[in-house]
Symmetry: C2
Subunit: 226 residues, 2 copies
C-alpha cells in the first residue's frame, strides 16, 4: 500500500470526533484554553492535551501560553476555509444527522466564520458593498474603492489603525450555507467587530451564531442596502 498524498494527514487530523469538536469550537474565532477545549470535546484533560499537541504539530492550531493557561486558536484563515468547505460538502450530501432546527436556521442567517460575518447576512453585506461600488476588482484581487473607504469610515472603522497583519484587506470567502460569497480578510474582521461594537448583534457564547437584535437588523439592512 502506498503512502497517501500530503493532504491525507490533514484530513485524518480533522477526521477524529474529539479533534473535530475542538476545531469547530475554535471556528467561533475565540481563543480557548485547553480545559475549555477538553470540555468542548467531551474528553479528559489528558486526552485533549494529546489531541491539541497533534493539531499544533499539524499546524492546524496555534497556541500561546499565558501563565498557567494555554490558549489555542485556529492557525490561519485557511484552516477555517477548509473546515467550511468540509461543512459545505457534509451539508450537501446527506451527512447531516440531526433534524434541521432553530439553531441551524440561526447559523444560516448569521454566524461567525472564524473572524468575520458569514451566513445570509454576511453574503448580503458582501453583495451590497459590491453593488454599491464599495468593493471592486475581481474576487481574487478584491479591493476597497474610494467610496468604499468613505463608507467604512462612516461606519466607524479606522482603516489606518487596523492590526498589522499579512492577511489581505479584502478577501472573498465561500459561504457554505448560502453557497455564495461573504467578505473575509481584515475588513471582514473589522466589520464584524464594528457590528458587535455598535450593539447591532451579539455573539452567542456557546456557538458561532451571531444574534442580531431587531433594531440591529434594521440598522444593518439600512446600512447595507442592495
Amino acid at each position: 500500500m502506498k503512502e497517501g498524498p500530503d493532504f491525507t494527514r490533514v484530513a485524518a487530523l480533522i477526521g477524529d470526533p474529539a479533534r473535530a469538536n475542538i476545531l469547530t469550537a475554535l471556528m467561533s474565532g475565540k481563543a480557548l484554553t485547553a480545559s475549555e477545549l477538553a470540555a468542548e470535546a467531551g474528553v479528559s484533560a489528558q486526552t485533549a492535551s494529546a489531541h491539541l499537541a497533534k493539531l499544533r504539530d499539524g499546524t492546524l492550531v496555534a497556541e500561546r501560553k499565558q501563565g498557567r493557561h494555554k490558549y489555542f486558536r485556529l492557525a490561519s484563515d485557511e484552516v477555517a476555509q477548509v473546515l467550511e468547505a468540509l461543512m459545505g460538502l457534509a451539508a450537501g450530501s446527506g451527512h447531516l444527522r440531526t433534524r434541521t432546527g432553530p439553531k441551524d436556521q440561526a447559523m444560516r442567517e448569521a454566524r461567525a466564520c472564524y473572524n468575520h460575518l458569514a451566513g445570509d447576512m454576511g453574503v448580503h453585506m458582501f453583495r451590497s458593498m459590491r453593488q454599491n461600488g464599495h468593493l471592486i476588482g475581481p474576487e481574487d484581487a478584491l479591493r476597497l474603492s474610494e467610496t468604499g473607504s468613505e463608507f467604512v469610515k462612516s461606519l466607524g472603522i479606522d482603516l489606518e489603525n487596523l492590526p498589522r497583519s499579512k492577511a489581505p484587506l479584502c478577501r472573498a470567502c465561500l459561504d457554505w450555507s448560502a453557497r455564495d460569497t461573504h467578505l473575509a480578510g481584515q475588513l471582514g474582521r473589522a466589520l464584524l467587530n464594528q457590528i458587535l461594537s455598535l450593539g447591532w448583534a451579539v455573539k452567542n457564547a456557546d456557538s458561532r451564531v451571531v444574534i442580531f437584535s431587531k433594531t440591529g437588523k434594521s440598522a444593518f439592512f439600512e446600512t447595507f442596502r442592495p
Copy 2:
C-alpha cells in the same frame, strides 16, 4: 466523548492513505475502474472494493457499471473543491514531504482540477477573460458576456450543445497552487476539452498534469491575452 460534527466522517474518509490515493487519481477527471483504482492505491482488489464502497456510501464518489467493469468518478465538483482546499492547506503548512521537483512545477503550471484547467495557466485564462470583458459579474454570479459568447464561439465551443447539467455555466474555483481563481463550471470544462481537441495540450496519462506543446502554449497566450 461527544460525537463529532457532521463533517468528521467526510474528513475521516479522506484521511486514509488508500482512499486519499483513490480520490487523488480521480481528480484527473477521468472515470477509472475498480481495478485501476486498486493499482493507484497500491492495495488488493478486495481492499479497494471495501474502500470504494465506503466512498460511494459517503457520496464522495459515484459509480457506474459497464458490463463487468465498474467505473468510478468523483461525485461532484464540490468534492474536488474540498480536495483542492486540503491540498492548499497541506501545501502551505509544511506537510510536504517530498522535495519540489519537475513534476510539482508542471502541476503548478497547468493541471486538471477535475474537469477544468487549473494552475498558473488556468488562472491566466480566467484573468484574461475577466479583463477582456468576456466574464462579467461578481464571482458568485459569474456569467458570460456577449463578447464572451462570441469569443468562445470563435474558439470552436458550441454553447448550445453543452451537455445537460445542473452545474452553472461559469464558476470561480480557488486554485491552491496559484492562490487565485480559475474557471470551473461547464464553460471551464468545455474550454479544457477544446484546448485538448485543438491539440494545444495533452493530458499526462499518469497524473493530472496538462502538458502544453510549444506551439500550443503560444496559441494559448495569443488567445488569452492579458
